[in-house]
Structures are given as C-alpha cells and as structure tokens.
Subunit: 323 residues, 2 copies
C-alpha cells in the first residue's frame, strides 16, 4: 500500500481543490498525508480522516523559488518532501510552484549521484502511444552536457513507463539537418550522436503528429513553451471545430459527434493528463498542473500511486550508472 | 498590376511545384518572373509564357546561409532579389532556405534604417481573428533590444494587415508573472513595459486559444518551435478525431461531419496558409513553407500580390521612425 505526501497549498485553487482531490483519491484506495495550513485544510476536510501535518507557509508562483525555499522552512512543499525523506511517505505530489518543488526536492532529498541538474519530464499524447517531453520546464537555460543527461533520463523513463527497449530520442530543433540550431543544439547533437542512446537526430514540433520518436529532448524554456502551445492549439482547434459543427451540422447529429470527439479532447486536456515526473532526485516526486481541479488532483494521485507500486524510483536510480 | 519575382529553385519540391504554382497564379492574374535554372524551369513551363531569368545555382536547406549567399552570386534567390532592387519586380517570393532568403535580402536590398536584425513574422490562426508571431524563425538568438524591435515591427504589421489601432503585444514566456523567463525575457519585459507599445505582459502558448493578444513576440528559435508545434498538434488532433469518428459514428454521418470540420483543418494547415513576412529590409519579401505544393505556392503568390497592391512596404518602412 502506498502513501503519498501531498502539498496541500500548491496550485491555483489550493487548498480547496487539492483537499477535495485527496478525498476522492482516498475513496479509490490511495493513502494520503496532507502538508499545509492545518486549520485551513481541516475546514475543507470535514469528517474525512486524512492525516495533516502543519506546514502553514505558502510559496506562490510569483516567489523566487530558491529564495522562497531558503527562507520558508515551514512551507507546505518542504513538509511533504520531509515525509518522503523520513520514509513516512513513498512519494510527493505538488501542483504548486514547479521551481520551488524542484529546488525543495534537491535540498531535502538530494540529487541522484552523477546528475548535474534534475529535470521535469512530461508525458504527452502521441499518434500511436504517449511520448515523453524532457525538460518540460525546470531548467530554462542549460549546457549541452546537461541536455545530454536529460536525454539519458528521458530514455530511462520511457523504458520504464512503456516497456520500450532503446527508446528513440529526438532533439527538438528548428530543422532536421544536423547543421541546424543554436550552439546548444549543435553541441548536444554531437554528444547524442556519439552516445549509446538510440538518437535519431533533430526533430520538430510537427513530429508530434507522427511516431518518429519516443522522447523529445530540449531545454526547459523551450519545453515549457511546447507544452503550453500544445494545450493552446488543441483547445483552439476544439473551439473552432465546435463552432463549425454548430453552424454546419443538423442539430440532432451534434450529440453523437461530440461524444465521439470527447475522448480526444480529454487526451489533449491538461486536467485529465497525469502529471509530470521530477527526475534526478532521490525520491519519487510528481508535479501536477497549477490549474488542476479536484478531479485532476485525484487522477494525478492515482497516477502517483501506480508509479510507487511499479517501484519506479528504485529502477530509475540505476540510471546514475550511465551518467 | 504587380509583378512578383519568384525563387523557382526554393522549396522541397522545386522547381516543379514552384513553376506549377506560378502558372496557376498567372491564370488568376498575377504577373510573375521566375529566377533559377532556365533549362530546368522551361521543361516544366511547357507553352506557358512566363519570363525566366537564368540564376542556376541552388542554395539548399543544408547549406550555411551566410556562406552560401557569399559564394553563390548566381543563386536563384539572389536573382529574384535583384529584380526587386532593379525595380523590375514589386516583391520577392521564396519557399527556399529561410536563412538564405534573410541574408540575401539584407545583402541585396539592405536593412530599413534603424533595424538591427530583420525578422520573420508569420500570420497564425486565432480564436476570433488571425494573430502574428514574430520572430518565427529568422534569428535564433537575440538581445533584448532586438526582441523589442521585433515587437515594434510586429505591432506595425498587425496594424497594417488587420486595421487594428494599438495592437496588443505579448511576450512569450514560461509563465505570466513578470519574474518569469530567462535573462532575455526579463530584460525585454522591462523594455516593452516602458515603451509606447500596447504591451499586455507575458503570454504562454495556451493563449493561442483565447484572444488576449494580437502579436506574440519571441526569439526565432522559440518562434520556430511554436510554429512547428502548432502544425504538429493540429495534425495530431485531427488524426485522433478522424480515427475516433470512424470508430464511433454511424457511417452515413461521416461525410457531413468531415465537411463541417474541413474548414478548420485548412485554417491550421500550413499548405493553405499564406506565407510569412520578412520584415526590416527595403523591399517586400514573402517566405513560403519549404513543403509547399503548387496549390500552396499559388496561394502564397496571390497573398504576395495583395500585399503589393496594399502598398504594404511603403507603409511599413515608416516604422523606422520608431526604432
């Protein structure tokens, strides 16, 4: 049975939606411990018996993450991370400031030996199966060696999540030719080319529409922009299609058509996707979207619980031998 | 009546598709002159009476643009640019190497006074009306001052294309807060904030789904990744929807539903969109997608012709007073 430490104060609608999500997850058999402002959390818990630890400080999206972690030892994310460090929980989940979760995790749990910069990997929808995007927002500016490590961690994640041997790795660039890119991409291309990884070369955003690679590698700034653009474009197209269907289709047809389109909308909706992995620290840390509602929090906690049961982190830690 | 100088050797399927596209455009009343390998072009022209100038060298996507422009004075793009310089044509169109077109245009036509780095602006689909993305691929790495100039040029383009007063400018970033981003975004934010532009702050890729801004500003690497991701995600979602409709919908319904969705697919299909503007040089230069087929080339030439008729470049050159 897995226990998940939840940063109850993290997220745009925290603690209310986080607490509600935790209650829903508990009903589906996930043990949770909530870290945050005890009084506030209890006001949303009602009669539910979920343990709470009192770490009342809140780190907001506006705060400088490094400074906030240094000066807020009683912040909710630190409380959650401490539970994993003390082996009272198997994993941490936060929908709060990504930067604070990253820096907090490095500070409390420590980096896996050999890892220069821990990173965030997101699981995205793909044509035939899901794909991994790494770094999806942790490290805005990186060196080639670091990008190379992201590729190794992304490859390992893909292996573990999807049982793929030698996942295909692509470097996001502004063209396919090896001469393309900034100095960062040019140098990283060489490192990847001469590595043991199954590096298939440069890829572009248009390759999200085919099945060319299993892992998209890029810096955290570009990765974050890709992730948000994916959400924005999916939503834009859904809205345009909705409008066009309403204008052009005989009304009784709308319902079956909407029902047929609905699973695709969910696939591309951040609230129903699962969360992202913080890779490279000594412990399982899952990051959710800041805009998560209770349903999204519940899904993310179920997802975290499955990762615990698969003994994800033990297997992942082996990656350090390759760094 | 406008005359367009066409780089007949530029594009993945050049010269065949470019020549065919030029023939189609001519039938719709656009005068074109083709620049490239005369013998090859004539073999595709058949009996069509379209003037050809012999600039047989081809610059490929693989070539280093600066070196290629220096050492290929007889390349097709240079021939097309010379026609505008000599006032034998009103605009240049190329679906070839963006880098070579950019550097060639700077070398042959010169930069507009005050412009540090010319840029490429693309017109993208939006929720209520089209939006502009600048830089969409010309300058991979830039300084804040340059990004600020891109915002000014993007603003002017939006004004001219869509008759908007004070277009709303957004800086693409990894979050909305002013503290977000790399040093580039932080410094550019300050420049934009204290400018005369209608700067609404940082925006994200998810803002493609709303109507928050008229102009998205970013560096050319990020912009190119955004553009390609937009194409990839739109295509991915279309394929997923198609599949789901086929599996879940009563067969006779498929045709009317596909017809209703079809205009949205076109909006988000690069082959039917119009081309991008090279901004900041002394002449009208329009860049098409490398993958353009003859239909896309024709559309791009019609689009270029309309820009000539609107006296776009004369109006745009006024922008230099603001730089």
């Amino acid at each position: 049975m897995s226990t998940i430490a939840v940063d109850a104060m993290g997220g745009d609608s925290a603690p209310e939606e986080v607490v509600k999500g935790a209650i829903l997850a508990k009903k589906e058999g996930v043990d949770v411990i909530l870290s945050g402002d005890e009084n506030l959390i209890k006001s949303y818990l009602g009669n539910e018996k979920i343990p709470v630890i009192n770490y009342p400080q809140v780190i907001s999206m506006d705060d400088d993450p490094a400074r906030a972690i240094r000066s807020n030892k009683d912040s909710s994310i630190i409380g959650a991370l401490n539970l994993v460090k003390e082996k009272k929980a198997d994993a941490v989940f936060s929908a709060g400031s990504t930067g604070a979760t990253l820096i907090g995790a490095i500070s409390v749990l420590g980096k896996i030996k050999g890892v220069t910069r821990p990173t965030i990997a997101s699981v995205l929808p793909g044509k035939e199966k899901e794909v991994i995007l790494v770094d999806s927002g942790a490290n805005l500016e990186v060196k080639p060696k670091v990008l190379y490590q992201f590729a190794i961690m992304g490859s390992k994640l893909s292996e573990l999540l999807f049982d793929i041997e030698n996942p295909r790795i692509g470097l996001i660039n502004n063209g396919e030719e090896s001469s393309k890119g900034r100095e960062l991409e040019k140098s990283t291309f060489k490192l990847l080319k001469s590595s043991q990884l199954n590096f298939i070369g440069n890829v572009e955003g248009k390759d999200f529409a085919n099945s060319k690679v299993d892992v998209f590698v890029t810096d955290g700034f570009t990765g974050n922009v890709v992730l948000k653009t994916l959400q924005g474009v999916a939503k834009l197209q859904q809205d345009l299609i909705s409008k066009s269907l309403k204008e052009n289709l005989f009304k009784p047809l709308l319902v079956p058509v909407k029902n047929a389109i609905s699973p695709v909308k969910s696939m591309l909706n951040p609230n129903s996707t699962n969360g992202s992995y913080l890779l490279g620290v000594n412990g399982l840390v899952i990051i959710g979207h800041g805009s998560s509602n209770s349903e999204a929090i519940k899904n993310a906690l179920l997802f975290t619980s499955r990762a615990v049961e698969k003994r994800f982190i033990n297997k992942f830690t082996e990656v350090s031998s390759e760094l």
